[in-house]
Amino acid sequence: MLLVTATPVRPGPLDADVALWLVDLAADDDALTAAEARLTPVEVARAHRGTPAVHRRRVLLRAALRSALGSELGIPPGQVPIGTSPAGRPHLAVRGSLLDVSCSASGAVGVVAVGRGRRVGVDVELVAPWSSDVLDEGWLSPGERRALTGLPVTARPLAVTRCWTQKEAVLKATGTGLRADPATVVTPVGRATGAVAGWEIRDVQVPDGWVASLAVTPEEETPR
């Protein structure tokens, strides 16, 4: 199977329960055309609703998601049955499947996570310069705000971005996305791993300048 644009992140021992793929969203037009050929007409139509940049992002990300699931299942990416929850969460539309999937993109970097017997949520974000504006955007809990402002200024860009990705990873794992209040997901500011709202949080290795987090159901749980 050709994985046009996705490369697997080397799975560490802890990650055997989750397969992670990095997606090059700056891939050339040939890759884009090839990727688009694997999407369903509905996916293509959805991609085309966006601006050219959104189109490219959606196509490459969705094709990578298909490839990742396809390689788990041993079927061509184009044939992976994918469903979408009303809130937009993608899932493998195979009854009783133990595979779960999540994807995220920011700038040129995309990430796809496939949970094997684990429910997963992943989020990647370009690290942006620090601005105190974020304190007043309503998505940080008071404790998080305090912890952030307690950090040296140089550590804050990464910390606040990581904090966001951890929240988003959890919200994408639960499937509500922004339909739930991110402030209610309280993260261990300054730490790349830990437990957040009952989810196990892991750090995902991404290129410099980006940060990505993964939320997975703790081991004892079966995926919902």
Partner: protein
């Protein structure tokens, strides 16, 4: 020495077509060996041709074949009015080279070994099934609906019904109930045969409910039998108890055999009846003369029972071929090739999409498999591209790739292969014998070497006998014969070359084929009827300017007087189509035109419009009433999307749109654009909402934004929803509202998850309350509650009231409930979400208990430091000193609320109270719940998972995404 006739197809060097030509030459008395001569003969002398065909095929029939054709009118002519035959008999009779011991069918499955039946065994099974179906009363006036996978049982049932003369309509079990009913409701079947293995129970009951004419249900599976009406039997049980097989009567040539469906540009799917004789004769002709199929062949055509290729491949039994069926999944490019290799398939039928999949995946069948038996690959369903011919040549082998094309409407093909013609890349080899097919202009004149409308200009036997639910034949006429009088107009665009080879160019009747999805423009037009300002519209397919081979939808609209196509209208159109049709129906481009192309007789010409949007010369321009409209269409399409005419009179919408543009760095934001479609990320949503708060003074919760992430939606959320509304609607509903009181931060956000998941039809409202006085000092709980009671009465003048609050909000709710009852109003439900009793309400013993619990908690805490800080803070606030730690105005606000909360002395409330006790608070609160019981005699405690979850508590709160579902369920269950 006796000469046994050579079995048809046995001698590959001499195709059956040569033998047939020799017969025709005898009949015609002229040589027919020039290319095209036989086809010319077949359409110039239809009576001689079809009679020869019937005789040469040695089909079993009785009666007289003297009258071949009743007239020359394609719409009404009947073939062989005096011939009687039986389809099942013709398929199952012993043939030279294919006697009863020859293989008839091999059913291949993904999950179990294949089964094989000889022709004799298959005939026996069909006879048993026919006896069974006759036994439950199936007659030749009935119709039978069969929903089963492609396998032996489906074949047996269909042939048994055909043997009895009942018409059969088939579909695949994985189709949805609605799609199935849309088809079969028109069929009014007497008997329904189901394989329920791959069907949902809901589908089965929906079918039975929706098909009231069904007298008997027969199941092919082993699942338990349902009780009740209609009577249900297993086919296996019926055959076991059946009497002798009734005679397979021969019936008139046009006796109904299949009911098929075709979706067109208007209305529900057309249910068309195909006759036994026409179907059989056409299929035998195609299989033997065009496909050279015979007893030496093994045919696998990848299809389901829902597609006409199923009927087509079934008829291959009539020429003695061995048929393979497969009901498993296609797991990858290798699946069907492995099947073909493994079962010695000689003729393999598939689709352009599958071939493309194999090519895209870099799969090379010949490199892995022995395909030496394969002698032809057939493809149908869509246009086959030039490069796919190269791929087959290179990676499958030197076998002809035959593109065949026809339709359900004729249960056969107009253009297909020919054993005598070389295959030209990208082209179907030959027109179907006996069918006078041509490409014509709008005025009906034939064109060669150019694209025209595909028509058939003479009667042909597989024309449907008619439509169901079309008593006067007007739908039938409108569907095929109205466009070009005297011709069957199929609705395809085709180009014929002088050598008779053809290339299809998609649909002409306006059915759009975008990325493989067939889209009926009528669905687009129906949806657009709800959009004011649009007088008329035409959706056409345009070659994608950037993606070769792909196409997209261009929607041409004619606007009413005074209406302009601004970005807003374009988006309304898109949104309407997305919501009422599907994302696939959304046009890539909307262009306003003064007029649509109409022909002189007032017909809409989608074809002219399509040529114009593609920038192609318009072939039928002369046939148009006002050819000038084409120039306008071209201009409108090249002008591109309408510029945002700034006629948004709404200043708020303009301001919101401005913020979007600024944030997203794009000038082109329309009021109905989706934030995500424009490239906005969820992180940016939060920045946007901050700007909304700062610039527009409105506090829009994230969830309110997410519900409709467009500028218009945001503007709505700002005006209608939240800002300034003291009792914002958190969820719409009917009846008495459920009110939620703000937390110690004065916010309602924390309830979002619960609001979403409450199982109630009632509206849910939050209250926005002032927690501080003009001097900035916190107001006592009673005062906050007085405002709350006043707000409640504004929304709901009289009781009974239902209200709840978490923590501090619960104290306010309690005080408000007291205030309301003091006024003589009823409070039916007071929900306290883990509302720890305030200090001031505790007895000395309870204070001590609380302290013990706190100490224990400190010891248990994974982050002792946090707990120390918590203790410090609590101590400090109690002592009235400024809070410890970095000065944080919001934190100060929170602790201020907590302080007034702790000094609240709850008074007596005699109404019902439900206390939702967080699991993690039990230790902390159990010993102090007495404080609540003293003042609320009707206290009922409900346990919920999670922790209290306030400040610094890193454990999972009861309102967190994780636990809120259970909380919402328990709240819903107690709600009054």
């Amino acid at each position: 020495m006796t000469l046994a006739p050579a079995p048809p197809g046995a001698d590959r060097r001499r195709p059956q077509l040569a033998d047939f030509r020799a017969r025709c030459e005898d009949v015609a008395g002229v040589r027919l060996d020039e290319p095209g001569a036989l086809h010319d003969f077949s359409v110039q002398h239809p009576e001689r041709f079809w009679r020869t065909c019937l005789d040469w095929a040695q089909l079993p029939w009785s009666g007289s074949a003297d009258v071949v054709l009743t007239s020359g009118d394609v719409q009404s002519a009947r073939f062989f009015p005096d011939v009687r035959l039986n389809y099942a008999e013709a398929l199952l009779r012993p043939l030279p080279g294919a006697g009863d011991g020859a293989p008839a069918v091999t059913a291949v499955h993904a999950d179990r070994p294949a089964e094989r039946l000889t022709r004799g065994q298959l005939r026996e099974q069909v006879a048993l099934a026919a006896a069974a179906l006759a036994g439950i009363g199936l007659t030749d006036r009935d119709r039978l609906v069969l929903i089963a996978p492609h396998g032996v049982p489906a074949m047996v049932v269909a042939l048994a019904a055909a043997a009895l003369g009942a018409a059969v309509s088939t579909a695949a079990p994985d189709m949805g109930a609605l799609a199935l009913l849309g088809r079969f409701e028109q069929v009014e079947p007497a008997v329904l045969v189901l394989d329920r293995t791959a069907m949902g129970e809901a589908t089965v009951s929906a079918l039975l409910d929706g098909l009231p004419t069904v007298r008997r249900l027969v199941v092919l599976d082993d699942l338990p039998l349902p009780e009740g009406d209609p009577t249900v039997d297993r086919l296996a049980d019926l055959t076991a108890g059946a009497g002798p097989s009734p005679a397979w009567d021969r019936r008139p040539f046009d006796h109904p055999l299949f009911v098929m469906f075709s979706s067109g540009t208007t209305g529900p799917p057309k249910a068309m009846v195909h006759g036994a004789g026409g179907t059989l004769l056409e299929h035998v002709k195609e299989h033997r003369l065009h496909g050279d199929l015979g007893p030496a062949d093994t045919l696998y055509f990848h299809t389901t029972t829902a597609w006409m290729m199923w009927n087509w491949q079934l008829s291959a039994l009539a020429v003695g071929a061995h048929v393979i069926t497969y009901d498993g999944p296609v797991d990858g490019p290798q699946t069907l090739w492995e099947l073909a290799a493994g079962h010695g398939v000689t003729v393999f039928g598939t689709s352009p999409a599958y071939l493309q999949l194999c090519q895209d995946d870099g799969y090379h069948p010949a490199a892995h498999l022995d395909l030496s038996r394969l002698r032809a690959v057939l493809s149908t369903g869509a246009v086959l591209h030039d490069w796919q011919y190269d791929w087959v040549a290179e990676h499958v082998g030197p076998v002809p790739l035959q593109s065949i094309s026809g339709g359900t409407d004729i249960i056969g093909c107009f253009v297909l292969g020919s054993p005598e013609r070389p295959v030209r890349r990208g082209r179907c080899s030959a027109p179907s014998l006996g069918l006078d097919v041509a490409a014509v202009e709008e005025d009906g004149t034939e064109v060669v070497g150019a694209v025209g409308e595909l028509v058939c200009r003479n009667p042909f036997p597989s024309r449907p006998v008619g439509f169901l639910r079309d008593p006067d034949g007007s739908r039938f006429h409108a569907s095929y014969f109205a466009a070009h009088p005297g011709m069957w107009t199929h609705g395809d665009l085709v180009e014929f070359d002088a050598d008779g080879s053809a290339r299809l160019h998609g649909r002409s009747d306006g059915v759009l084929n975008v990325d493989g999805v067939r889209i009926g423009p009528s669905e687009i037009y129906t949806a657009l009827r709800g959009v004011p300002g649009i007088a008329d519209a035409m959706a056409v397919e345009q070659r994608h300017p950037a993606r070769p081979g792909a196409s997209r939808i261009v929607l041409l609209v004619v606007l009413r007087e005074g209406v302009v196509l601004d970005a807003e209208l374009a988006r309304t159109i898109r949104r309407t189509l997305r919501e009422q049709a599907s994302p696939a129906h959304v046009p890539a481009l909307v262009a306003a035109v003064p007029e649509l192309p109409l022909t002189h007789n007032g017909k809409r010409s989608e074809r002219a419009a399509r040529d114009a949007v593609n920038g192609d010369p318009v072939a039928n321009a002369a046939a148009l009433r006002s050819p000038a409209c084409l120039q306008a269409i071209r201009a409108a399409v090249t002008a591109g999307p309408a510029a945002t005419a700034d006629q948004d009179a709404d200043p708020l919408l303009r301001a919101v749109t401005g913020l979007w543009s600024e944030l997203l760095g794009t000038g082109e934001v329309g009021p109905d654009d989706d934030f995500g479609d424009l490239g906005g990320s969820s992180r940016q949503v939060l920045s946007l909402l901050r700007r909304v708060r700062l610039d527009l003074g409105a506090d829009v919760p994230v969830q309110a934004f997410a519900a409709d992430p467009t500028p218009r939606g945001l503007a709505h959320a700002i005006t209608a929803g939240t800002a300034g509304d003291p009792a914002p609607l958190l969820r719409a509903g009917s009846g008495r509202p459920v009110f939620l009181l703000p937390d110690a931060w004065g916010q309602l956000n924390l309830y979002a998850g619960m609001v979403e998941q409450l199982a109630t039809d009632r509206p849910v409202r939050g209250l926005r309350l002032r927690l501080t006085g003009p001097d900035g000092a916190h107001l006592p709980v009673e005062e906050v509650a007085a405002e709350a009671a006043a707000r409640l009465r504004e929304v709901q003048p009289d009781g009974p009231f239902s209200l709840a609050g978490y923590s501090f909000g619960g104290l306010v709710a309690h005080a408000a409930a007291r205030a309301l009852t003091a006024e003589g109003r009823e409070v039916a439900w007071l929900g306290l979400l883990d509302v720890r009793p305030p200090r001031a309400a505790l007895s000395a013993r309870e204070v001590a208990a609380q302290r013990r619990a706190a100490r224990l908690r400190t010891l248990l805490s994974r982050r002792a430091l946090e707990a120390v800080r918590r203790r410090l803070r609590r101590g400090s606030t109690l002592a009235g000193r400024p809070p410890v730690g970095p000065v944080d105005p919001e934190l100060a606000f929170f602790t201020g609320s907590e302080a007034v909360g702790d000094s609240y002395r709850p008074g007596r409330f005699d109404g019902p109270v439900t206390y939702f006790l967080a699991e993690g608070s039990q230790r902390h609160v159990r010993g102090t719940l007495g404080a609540w019981r003293r003042v609320t005699p009707r206290l009922r405690v409900v346990d919920v998972p999670g922790h209290h979850g306030d400040l610094d508590d890193e454990r999972i709160g009861m309102l967190s995404a994780r636990h809120v579902g259970v909380l919402a369920a328990r709240v819903s269950a107690t709600l009054a």
